[in-house]
Amino acid sequence: MDYLINLSILFSIYGILAVSLNLLVGYTGLVSLAHAAFYGIGAYAAALLMTKAQMGFFPAMLCGMGLSACAALVIGMVLSKFRGDYYVIASAGCTIIVYNILMSWREVTNGAIGIFGVPRPAIGDFVFTSNFAFLGLAFAFLVLIVLAAQLIASSSFGRVLKAIREDEDVARVFGYRPLHYKMLIFVISAMMASVAGSLFAVYLMFIDPSTFKLVENVFLLAIIILGGLADNRGALIGTLILIGLPELLRFTGFPTEIAAQMQKVVYGLLLIVLMFLRPQGILGKFRI
């Protein structure tokens, strides 16, 4: 049972990441590999503020979101200069730089050792110590963020994002300014990723930089491509499958190390095969 709760918490956190990344990749056509950076910023902001400044979880999370938003403004401006594949490479560079900072700015981030003893969140006197209670919190955030994403997708704003994705010139001729739209969705998406990061930090009560590597971002990309681009339910289904999959492999009886690698083989193959069979994913409405 505890095992299922663990999985559900992971599902909630990755669900948030996938839905927010889908806003960029699926709806706006920005294949961003910078998402892991904001995930990391959120996690470290929460962990540091809670351990070093004894801040509560919610204010710490809000600070993390603010910090992510600022970082997203800078990174987004830099990335806005690029198109297509250059965008992918440049955004990967951003994740690598942030990872490098988390690893090497030891005075603050404690480097590769990471940060221990991050407390669980509390509301008043109630502390989310049990995983079951924490699941409630994480799931509540997932619901909030999916709702927000759904609203964005169904608003005029979402329609413009799709137009920008396909033909920026046409969007311009009809009076829209693509840069503004791209910046706004980039910041929103970064703030959502930051929430997932904060939740992750207090869930494990420990974080180190290895979680926020580029490969994590590739995993997220696999999730949303599998589930379907430009569809929020798709992102959730993709999360469900790719979070559940390694657990299935666990039952095959391979040693843990091999199972971990098998898991990578499977999601790598999934990316390759999907691009042949169904480039828009299971529920997707958009092909990259």
């Binding site: 329609r159 413009v160 001729v173």
Partner: protein, 243 residues
């Protein structure tokens, strides 16, 4: 009154002069035909006038504003809209969404809080019915036939409610029924006092719809006047027919 004019407009692409000191004007409330052989610079003129390609030299005059530098998102503010020759619809969204794109909120923060219920669906329905596309409103634009795409393209431009319309070969490759619909729309626009710039090859349609014709050749103005005058101009015949 002048709706749109160019002053000694030049446009160079990598050493090729697409427009050479072109000075022409399009009068308010008139339909002006823009004709000329392939590669004479008609589409380039439209692209420059809608800000999609920057001006090399000279200026554009748009509702009395003289501009050397024009951004595409500004043209609507000056009351101008356009269509594309190749029908650039947003393929992976619905027909209705394509149309609403021309009618919805432009500011990103406000657009975030504008939903379907705020859209002017009544007007959208009226416009789509006019071109027999209401049944197709939920179809992705990619699923339309060539003719339907052309119809939606011009309807979308009209939905902006602009005063001046740049129409890049709206009739090309269409069947007579579709041609009739678009010709009808153009006539309606003229009745409402809108300005139209029409690129078209068929002289029949030009004579029927246009008050004036401007003939371009090799990026320059070759001749202008009423359709009748232009049709009998020896220079035009030579440029067009190469005779």
């Amino acid at each position: 009154m002048t709706a749109l004019a160019t002053e000694r407009l030049c446009k160079n692409f990598l050493g090729v002069q697409a427009l050479r000191e072109l000075s022409i004007e399009f009068k308010e409330g008139q339909c002006t035909g823009l004709i000329g052989p392939n590669g004479s610079g008609k589409s380039t003129l439209l692209n420059v006038a809608s800000g999609l390609v920057p001006i090399s030299e000279g200026a554009i005059v748009l509702s009395k504003h003289r501009l050397n530098c024009l951004k595409p998102h500004q043209i609507l503010k000056y009351g101008m809209s356009r269509t594309f020759q190749d029908g650039r619809l947003i393929g992976q969204i619905s027909v209705l969404d394509n149309l609403l794109l021309a009618m919805a909120e432009r500011k990103p923060f406000r657009a975030l809080f504008q939903f379907r219920k705020n859209d002017d669906l009544a007007r959208a329905e009226e416009m789509l019915r006019r071109v027999n596309l209401w049944d197709k409103k939920d179809v992705l634009a990619n699923g339309l036939s060539y003719g339907q795409r052309k119809l939606l393209e011009i309807t979308r431009a009209m939905a902006t409610g602009a005063e001046t319309y740049l129409l890049d070969e709206p009739f090309s490759g269409l069947f007579p029924e579709a041609i009739e619909i678009i010709a009808g729309l153009s006539e309606d626009m003229k009745k409402k006092g809108k300005t139209i710039v029409l690129i078209e090859h068929s002289m029949d349609l030009i004579t029927r719809l246009c008050d004036r014709v401007i003939v371009m050749d090799a990026g320059k103005l070759l001749a202008q006047g009423t359709p009748q005058e232009v049709l009998h101009n020896a220079d035009v015949l030579e440029a067009y027919l190469g005779k």
